[in-house]
């Protein structure tokens, strides 16, 4: 981490960049938050550890409008989001100095809590310099231990890869964290009966409080004004009446990011209700891969996006799924 801070200071000092976009320590050890750093002194708050799951690429939309370059730290998966934004002309490559940072898998405090660890005060073993095998957790109920791998975010178990697709330089080592099948959850749902599927999603989506956290964090959901906030479709939403009415929002949201979603998993990470929102996006990714050939959004900015492209021989919509 110190290496990142040193390099940031250097780049600020020599005028390459005017500000730094990174993470700063939060009020608890497990909730660092995205932040700008304008001066060397500001950087004393800088942090980069296993809880820095936040994807900073979306902030580059606004940073691109600012004077001068912004130094941004991107994890391998974040760099896909940045690239996708670049493809859509939302960020300015000239305005960004990208340091690709290593990643050993990011942690999920909720997953730790689910393992029965409550009253957390301090967590060690989550720094990039650590072995990242075991987390030693100090709680008000005494010390606990949890394996690092068991505390990882879902997305890290099915990581796209630890190579950055866009960067100016790369600092820090990464570690392969894949130990799951990316589409296994989607497949599990696909194999359910319609009734089971419906009940599953009704149960999950009824939790939605329309706080819009998923929309606000999503690097693909970056419209200046969301259709659900404008009168363009007579679709500005009112308060919930029906417990399942949020389906329209989530289906359309998934549809709007289909072919653009890099599966960064931020939607699920930030959902205060713990709805596995990535299951929508991942369903579309799986379908696109199956129907139109493998496609990874953000990987290649010159690739034809699946929904703005077609083949004469594409499958028919009514076709029974195999």
């Amino acid at each position: 981490m110190q290496e990142l801070v040193n390099r940031a200071k250097e780049l600020l000092a020599n005028g390459t960049v005017q500000r730094v976009l990174g993470w700063k320590a939060g009020d608890m050890a497990y909730n660092p938050e995205p932040s700008y750093f304008e001066t060397e002194a500001d950087l004393s708050d800088f942090v980069y550890d296993a809880f820095c799951g936040a994807n900073l690429s979306k902030y580059m939309i606004e940073a691109s409008k600012k004077e001068g370059k912004t130094l941004v730290f991107l994890k391998p998966c974040d760099s896909y989001s940045f690239n996708q934004l670049l493809k859509e002309h939302r960020v300015d490559r000239e305005k960004a100095y990208i340091i690709g940072v290593g990643c050993k898998g990011k942690l999920d405090i909720e997953t730790i809590r689910k393992q029965g660890v409550k009253g957390i005060e301090e967590i060690s073993g989550a720094s990039m310099d650590d072995a990242c095998d075991t987390l030693k957790i100090k709680t008000i109920y005494g010390d606990k231990e949890v394996s690092y791998q068991s505390a990882m975010l879902e997305r890290c178990h099915v990581c796209k890869g630890k190579d950055h697709v866009v960067y100016d330089e790369v600092i820090g080592e990464s570690r392969d964290t894949v130990d799951g099948e990316r589409f296994s959850e989607v497949q599990r749902i696909e194999s359910m009966t319609p009734e089971e599927k419906f009940l599953f999603f009704q149960k999950e989506l009824s939790k939605c409080i329309r706080c819009n956290a998923c929309r606000n964090v999503c690097p693909a959901c970056s419209c200046r004004k969301c259709v659900f906030d404008s009168n363009k479709f007579d679709s500005a939403q009112k308060a919930n009446v029906d417990s399942f009415e949020e389906k329209m929002f989530h289906i359309i949201r998934a549809f709007h990011v289909a072919g653009r979603c890099t599966d960064c998993g931020e939607c699920s990470r930030v959902c205060p209700q713990g709805i596995p929102l990535h299951l929508f996006n991942r369903k579309f990714i799986k379908d696109i891969n199956e129907f139109y050939g493998d496609y990874t959004a953000g990987e290649d900015i010159d690739a034809e996006a699946p929904l703005t492209h077609f083949e004469f021989t594409d499958r028919e919509p009514n076709e029974e799924r195999g």
Binding site: E88, H89, R224, K225, T308
Partner: protein, 662 residues
């Protein structure tokens, strides 16, 4: 809220027999925004239209709904009526209660209920209609013809004769195209050059025609009436203004090993060359891949012998940018490659040739000076076999599914010419069907059989095998005799399928003109608009649209010219007002809409916007309403709803949905 008048047509008994029109009037008159509702036996009649006029004036209506037959029948009629009443014509919506209701339902209660719902949907839509105005765009009075074969020449001549400037772009060093390679033409057996060269000269001499040979279209932007085209004039290495066309350079050129494209590679040419004697312009080009000067830096013979001082080794490609109102594609055809047809031994024997190669052999300027001889040993053939449908009418992946259309006739021509000039040569034609529709065509084919003794065998050839004695063993079917024929031939001529010239793909992409799976350009309507591309301002001439012979090509070339002239004769074009329109404040600038636009109507601009007090420069979508045809593909691609379609807006369609589902 609009002030809407609803008019329910009886259409005699067509509607009124099944739909209770009085009931419809009664129910819809209570709909929000409706200030007037009435029924009338024939709304489309003059008296019916007057009802609209009167009501608009009396009740100060701002919108009109007509419940009648399909909008495909009378939408235009009622729009005009509204216009006469002083309303914007796009404030009219039709509820189709005839084709979509009274004609398909028998139960009156059911049909009436549905008619009411359809009327409600139309009322809900009109409530959100806004007056639309057809735009105007100017027309540049100049046409571009891509391709300088007989199709392109004829189109250019016809357009130029009507008084408009025309540029021809031809990628080879001379105009003339495939027709200049032909020896004789069916069914009259005129010498091809004798009828073509006067046209070439006429085009070259025409004051309204400007010819760019050895040139290609590099880039096309713009739209109907206002295209901007970059033409790449490839470096000829010869100054056209100075060259006198004396030909000494070609004689003296020491590099003579290049395959002669004009003679289909059957002999060779020099590195500096004009493709054929009557070339226009009669100015050679240097083939830089073959030229010793360009390869080694040494030589320069042509420069030394050129008394006019026309050789210019330093010439560069030149880009010419020109504006056009109309573009005619006349890119022509080539024969398919025969690599997939090993059974015909084309790649194994020099004596198996294509029909186009035979044209060159028969031609006095060809590789054999017009003598029919075997290319392997120069001997005169005694036994010749023609095979029809080579690569045509194949539904497998090796060939083309279509009939190449010209082969039956040119084969009859070849057979006849050979029997006439060399009566001792036996000619056998293996055919599947002989297709000779066309004026004097069947008579021509029958003459080949009856007067010239050409042996037509119904059946395809399965195999051609070169024999050690230099002959070719042809194994074919005689289906009428139910026999298998084995014939030793001296030469085999393959009626090879034709396909669009390969460069047409690139050109179609530049023009956003659609192309079918065989690379033929698609016509706007296969029957009613056969010489227009669906892309406005682009016209089709000759084989680029589909296989055709010379008379058909010339006829289509003229038709394309007339269509182009019709466009150029206009000073201004009115455009469809139902076009896409972006809301700049909502636009993300992501370019997704531009990626799906089939017309290239969407561009992006960095534009200063004022978003509720925030002034900033944003990348926003711009729609060229002259180009946009109003399909709406962009509107669905746009996640923020910034892109909307006038006349079919998101809110209008949703209002219709709501009215129907209510």
């Amino acid at each position: 809220m609009q002030r809407i008048g609803v008019f329910v047509c009886h259409c005699g008994s067509n509607i009124a027999a099944t739909v209770d029109v009085k009931k419809v009037v009664e129910v819809v008159s209570k709909e929000p925004g409706v200030c007037h509702a009435e029924d009338y036996p024939y709304m489309c009649s003059e008296a019916g239209q007057m009802k609209i006029l009167e009501a608009v004036k009396e009740k100060n209506l701002s919108g009109v709904v007509v419940c009648s037959c399909s909008p495909r029948m009378h939408e235009a009629t009622f729009r005009k009526a509204a216009e006469r009443a002083g309303l914007n014509p796009y404030m009219v919506e039709i509820a189709n209660i005839r084709e979509h209701c009274s004609w398909i339902h028998k139960d009156m209660e059911e049909a009436t209920e549905k008619a009411v719902i359809l009327a409600r949907a139309a009322i809900a839509k009109v409530n959100l209609n806004t007056p639309l105005k057809a735009g105007e765009s100017r027309v540049t009075k100049r046409a571009l013809v891509i391709g300088g074969g007989i199709a392109g020449i004829q189109t250019a001549l016809d357009i130029a004769d009507a008084g408009y400037e025309v540029d021809i772009v031809e990628k080879t060093p001379s105009i003339g195209g495939r027709m200049s390679q032909l020896d004789k033409t069916f069914p009259t057996l005129d010498c091809s050059a004798c009828i073509l060269t006067p046209k070439m000269v006429e085009a070259a001499a025409h004051e309204k025609i400007n010819i760019y040979t050895y040139s290609e279209v590099d880039k096309v932007t713009g739209f109907v009436g206002d295209f901007t085209v970059d033409i790449r004039k490839k470096a000829r290495s010869v100054n056209s203004d100075k060259c006198t066309g004396c030909g000494v350079c070609q004689e003296k050129c020491p590099s003579k090993k290049s395959l002669n494209e004009f003679n289909r590679g059957l002999n060779t040419r020099s590195a500096i060359y004009t493709p054929f004697a009557q070339a226009i312009p009669n100015v050679p080009v240097i083939d830089r891949d073959a030229c010793i000067k360009f390869k080694t830096g040494k030589c320069g013979v042509c420069e030394k012998v050129c008394q006019a001082g026309a050789i210019d080794y330093n010439q560069q490609d030149e880009i010419i940018t020109e504006k056009y109102g109309a573009i005619v594609v006349a890119t022509g055809f080539d024969t398919i490659k025969l690599d997939n047809y090993d059974e015909y031994a084309y790649n194994q024997s020099k004596d198996v040739i294509t029909s186009l190669e035979l044209e060159r052999i028969m031609n006095a300027a060809g590789p054999t000076k017009g003598h029919l001889e075997r290319l392997s040993d120069g001997k005169a053939p005694k036994e010749m076999v023609f095979i029809q449908c080579v690569g045509s009418r194949c539904s497998d992946t090796r060939g083309k599914s279509y009939c190449s259309k010209i082969c039956c006739m040119y084969t009859a021509k070849h057979a006849m010419l050979i029997r006439d000039k060399y009566p001792d040569v036996n000619v056998t034609v293996f055919y599947i069907d002989v297709r000779t529709p066309g004026k004097n065509f069947d008579e021509f084919y029958r003459r080949a059989v009856e007067e010239y003794g050409v042996n037509y065998v119904k059946g395809q050839v399965g195999k051609v095998a070169p024999l050690p004695n230099g002959k070719l063993l042809v194994q074919g079917s005689d289906l009428l005799d139910n026999k298998q024929i084995l014939k030793e031939a001296d030469m085999v001529v393959l009626a090879t399928a034709i396909e669009p010239e390969a460069s047409v793909r690139k050109i179609a992409t530049m023009l956003t003109a659609s192309i079918d799976t065989n690379n033929f350009l698609t016509e706007a309507h296969p029957k009613l608009r056969p010489v227009e591309s669906p892309t406005a301002g682009v016209f089709l001439s000759g084989v680029c649209q589909g296989p055709k012979d010379i008379p058909e090509t010339v006829a289509q070339a003229g038709a394309a010219a007339v269509k182009a002239i019709g466009l150029l004769a206009k000073d201004k074009l009115t455009t469809n007002p139902c076009t896409a329109k972006p809301d700049e404040l909502l636009c993300n600038g992501c370019s997704q809409c531009a990626n799906v636009c089939p017309y290239g109507a969407i561009t992006y601009e960095n534009k200063e916007v004022n978003d509720h007090g925030i002034r900033e420069t944003r990348r926003v979508a711009q729609v060229n309403s002259a180009l946009c045809q109003g399909c709406g593909a962009c509107t669905v691609t746009c996640p923020s709803g910034a892109m909307d379609l006038q006349g079919f807006s998101n809110r209008q369609i949703i209002a219709e949905v709501d009215a129907i589902c209510r």
